[in-house]
Amino acid sequence: MTSKFSATLSIDQNGTILCSDCEKQLCSREEIWKNYAIVSEQPMERTCGSTYTVSKDVLLRQFYCPECGSLLDSEIALSGDPFLNDTVRG
């Protein structure tokens, strides 16, 4: 039995955050799940194509499930920006 943590993550009865696609356990709800995901940071124009005529400093930061490779979250960031760490207490 799980409930939703975000659009792409679930949380089980023990408070463990899981990938909703493959149920891979990432970490407990007290921890920062993004530290347990695969992180990619790339210039936005390179990732999204020629309509994204943005400043070269703008990064698309993406977090993937380390088990199934599903995309779990995306952030617009400048280099060195902290992760946007959301918490859900239920």
């Binding site: 939703k4 309509t51 993937y64 490779g69 779990l72 617009i76 859900v88």
Partner: protein
């Protein structure tokens, strides 16, 4: 109270607002009001608290409440039947000087029982730059006429000395006079209908229903908050102005029946007018909150009570006078709209019951382009290119965003057709269409923005000028959700065809794309520019954010998007992992490509481990 009477009165209040909006549109002569729907009408209680929020730009609902309260404080003992007050000072309650509030007390048998308030973005306000958005202004003093409150109509008589003084300070006074008339008419209709309602049901019953309506909204909103998970959600908006970067940071905390929006860490206020005042940020966070969390709850004081805001003084979201704020509505306020939309949607996503209501950001950045100059009839035209109200819907948990599908803060925004704009200004459209690859990729795709180009036509002065106070060109502002990509940023180009022809480049009679227009393309976003001779202005506007993983998007939907010209083959393959040929999915190659892209993601992780 008898539930049927209560329901009838609630619906009548809604209809009063609706009819007042129609009046505003029918009397105002400007495209920004009657085509773009840059307007608002709402009803307020006798103490100025919000009773029935109307449609239009929703960040005005709470600001106009503040305006009512300010008038009540400052005109105590001098508020009479038939009066109408004007307030447009952003440091008192308004959002920027050009959004004028006209506020009218509603009396019944001599007793003050309610207020109506409305705004339109007036044709001109006498700021440094025509149209109200004033990129050349570096303080509030140069942003045009600004009043913390004055009596414009005294017991049913327009105060001509005041009206003439205002009209003496603005460009195109005849059009501003029409705007003023539209707001007076709107308030008169609201007052008349409200009085009829009270005549029918008695003051006591209507007052009881109004009081109940507010406590009902508070109860329902608190119940909804209690159903949603407790937690803390973050968002970050960057926006660029004249080479500088500004940031709006938001932490939204929800616990039980309370919700707090904290903007600590946002940039210090700017020398440019993209700042907003505290009341503007307050309104800015309610603009997405009303439709996303209270779509079935009456928008009034009851919804406001459980909400708190922290906005550091001297920041872009709580500027200190005399900082300029003329561009607030498309600057810091819109960043607040977007940030609040993201945090609210993340909270919805964490709810088993409400996750389907979540949405990525819609049309994250307005392009407020005001044209001004002599028109084909030899008179002056000032006005906005209403395409900015066309918007682009964000993708939602349940489906794609609608292309050119509007925006969250104004549920009735829309744009004029090409012919209306060509009749208003001495210009000709070269093309206007949906912009390929502008909708943020995702499981559900963000709605596209659009692109168009205009060139002078039949202009007595050889052309026209325009004011542009854009941002959202260096940073996308329509954030995606649940991994979805942001929508593409906006792009404004001054195409210098005059120069090109002088150097011998051949003229293209009917160019149908930006590539076909001859001339150097200069990226612009801020200031006043000429549009003369054969030069043109190209605008590509931002798409809505995407929702979810684009590698999970239905392959046939990607093929349909490619066939319809809204997604390129390059993005279909690179981002969606779908190979499309002749409008059909090539399944074997698609399966191979999607597996490869997933593998590459996982291998990236292995590299990090090493």
């Amino acid at each position: 109270m008898d539930p049927i009477t209560f329901s009838i009165i609630r619906h009548r209040l809604f209809r009063i607002v609706d009819e007042a909006v129609i009046t505003l549109k029918h009397v105002s002569g400007s495209a920004i009001t009657n085509e773009g729907h840059d307007l608002m009408v709402s009803l307020y209680r006798a103490d100025g608290s919000l009773l029935m929020g109307g449609v239009g730009f929703l960040h005005h609902l709470t600001s106009a409440a503040e305006a009512c309260k300010s008038i009540i404080r400052n005109f105590s003992g001098n508020i009479n039947e038939g009066d109408i007050f004007l307030l447009n000072c952003p440091y008192t309650a308004a959002l920027h000087t050009s959004d004028i509030y006209l506020i009218a007390p509603i009396h019944h048998n001599g007793v003050l029982v309610a207020w109506s308030a409305c705004f339109v973005h007036v044709y001109d306000i006498g700021a440094m730059n025509p149209g109200g958005f004033s990129p050349d202004s570096n303080d509030i003093f140069t942003e045009g006429f600004s009043s913390p409150g004055l009596k414009l109509v005294d017991k049913g008589e327009i105060r001509k000395d005041i009206m003439n003084t205002i009209l003496n300070m603005v460009r195109s006074p005849e059009m501003v006079a029409l705007d003023m008339s539209s707001m007076i008419a709107c308030n008169n209709v609201a007052k008349d209908r409200m009085q009829s309602l009270i005549d029918k049901y008695t003051p006591k019953v209507v007052d009881k229903a109004c009081s109940l309506l507010i406590s009902q909204s508070e109860k329902l909103f608190k119940e909804r908050l209690a159903e949603l998970p407790d937690g803390c959600w973050h968002s970050r908006q960057y926006f660029d102005v004249k080479g500088q970067t500004f940031k709006v940071l938001l932490k939204m905390s929800k616990e039980g029946e309370k919700i707090v929006f904290d903007f600590s860490g946002s940039s210090a206020q700017s020398q440019y007018g993209i700042n907003c005042s505290r009341w503007a940020s307050w309104g800015g966070l309610f603009a997405p909150l009303f439709p996303l969390l209270c779509y079935d709850i009456t928008w009034n004081e009851g919804v406001i009570r459980p909400v708190k805001m922290i906005a550091p003084e001297g920041s872009v979201v709580n500027a200190t006078r005399p900082a300029p704020v003329s561009i607030a509505t498309v600057g810091a306020i819109q960043a607040v709209n977007n940030a609040a939309c993201v945090c609210i949607s993340k909270m919805l996503s964490a709810s088993d019951k409400y996750s389907k209501e979540a949405t990525a950001v819609w049309h994250g950045s307005h392009f407020a382009i005001f044209m001004f100059g002599k028109n084909q009839r030899g008179t002056q035209s000032i006005g906005i290119l209403t395409e900015t109200f066309g918007g682009a819907a964000g993708a939602r948990a349940i489906g794609d965003g609608v292309d050119v599908g509007g925006e969250v803060p104004n549920p009735i925004s829309r744009m004029a057709n090409v012919e209306t704009m060509e009749a208003t200004f001495p210009i000709r459209y070269l093309f206007r269409r949906r912009l390929k690859d502008s909708g943020g990729p995702g499981l559900h795709r963000g709605g596209t923005g659009a692109e168009f180009a205009i060139t002078p036509h039949d202009a007595p002065d050889g052309g026209i000028n325009y004011v542009i106070s854009g941002k959202g060109t260096e940073y996308p502002m329509s954030d995606g959700l649940g991994g979805g990509y942001p929508g593409a940023p906006s792009n404004y180009l001054w195409v210098k065809t005059n120069e090109a022809l002088e150097s011998g480049v051949p003229l293209v009679a009917y160019p149908n794309s930006i590539e076909q227009i001859p001339g150097k393309k200069e990226k612009i976003s801020w200031g006043v520019f000429p549009l003369v001779g054969l030069d043109s202005l190209y605008v590509g506007w931002n798409g809505g954010g995407g929702y979810g993983d684009p590698l999970s998007r239905d392959c046939d939907s990607v093929a349909r998007d490619v066939k319809n010209g809204v997604v390129s083959n390059v993005i279909a393959e690179k981002v969606y992992g779908v190979v499309v040929d002749n409008g059909k999915v090539i399944h074997k190659e698609t399966n191979f490509l999607r597996k490869k892209l997933k593998r590459e993601r996982l291998e990236m992780g292995k590299i990090n481990d090493i």
